[in-house]
Symmetry: C2
Subunit: 158 residues, 2 copies
Amino acid sequence: MPRGRESWKQQPWWYGRFRGCGYRLTVPREVILGVLSKTSGHLSAEDIYLAVHKVYPAIGLTTIYRTLELLVQMGLVFKFNFGDKRARYELAEGSKGIRHHHHLVCTHCGKVMDYTDFIDEEVELLNQIEKGLSKKFNFKITNHLIQFYGLCEKCQEK
Amino acid sequence: MPRGRESWKQQPWWYGRFRGCGYRLTVPREVILGVLSKTSGHLSAEDIYLAVHKVYPAIGLTTIYRTLELLVQMGLVFKFNFGDKRARYELAEGSKGIRHHHHLVCTHCGKVMDYTDFIDEEVELLNQIEKGLSKKFNFKITNHLIQFYGLCEKCQEK
DNA sequence: GATATTAATGAAAATGGTTTCTATTAACAA
DNA sequence: TTGTTAATAGAAACCATTTTCATTAATATC
Ligand SMILES: [Mn+2]
Ligand SMILES: [Mn+2]
Ligand SMILES: [Zn+2]
Ligand SMILES: [Zn+2]
């Protein structure tokens, strides 16, 4: 497989982020980012392991966890908890043109849906809240989590 | 200890909820609700176990978990995940005059703070979102989770 | 108040996602 | 090409939570 490192190939968008932090560009890291880039879903560590395993059977589950932790810490990947008890991961907004979004979680079947609606209104409220809370509590907000729980179309029918 | 069941004592607000569902009023359930009523913090199952254990050493951790699950399912208690890996519990809004609120979580020291600011504005936005999403996705929202992550006053100083 | 029914409990064991340990491998600077 | 050391694989450990099952006690009935 073309590693792209020494070649003509255009380097992916994340190369600079790694080099800048002094992290090495390894096959597992590339492959895991590749898997995350190719899906629109919210994958668990095991999901990613299985996808990776098909092509690179030598890459172990431990490395999946370690790499995901690194990617989260670098801000390239978001880690979520949707109520099933495994962590779930997706590429962060900005990377690869992904829009800022939140999630609808069906409490009956576990389905997770992205939505990007009302983001403008949300950002407005969030700015207001951020200002207010940083003044009141002297708390510096860096991130937020918004999720809606309920019943999806199919689960309402029953 | 006064159980209050057969006595002069005014029955706590949750008694009706149990009877209505056909659940028995047991000592562990009373004691656990008692612990949750007396704190303003966000307790883990183990926190609750230790508090209960001081007064009723016979009550086991398993019962704490089972009871919390029941209380969550009954809507008397909320279950949260703040990033340390244990679930955390607090009495639901409404019970005992607790106001609707969300949380600020310090990603450095783990401190969790309640805030009740901007709830009116939030409710307005949430209604808008709920209408929009239920129309677009035919998703019936029953609940929402909002958390802010960042640095608390103390952790900013470092 | 005594008794029967069965939901609820406690202790121990199992579960399962995640982390740690350690010897080995490979990225990359020189 | 070589040396340094970060990164990896696999096995074992971890640990919050759940399951199992024999025992207890809450409630309804007498
Ligand atoms: Mn998403
Ligand atoms: Mn709270
Ligand atoms: Zn559903
Ligand atoms: Zn802090």
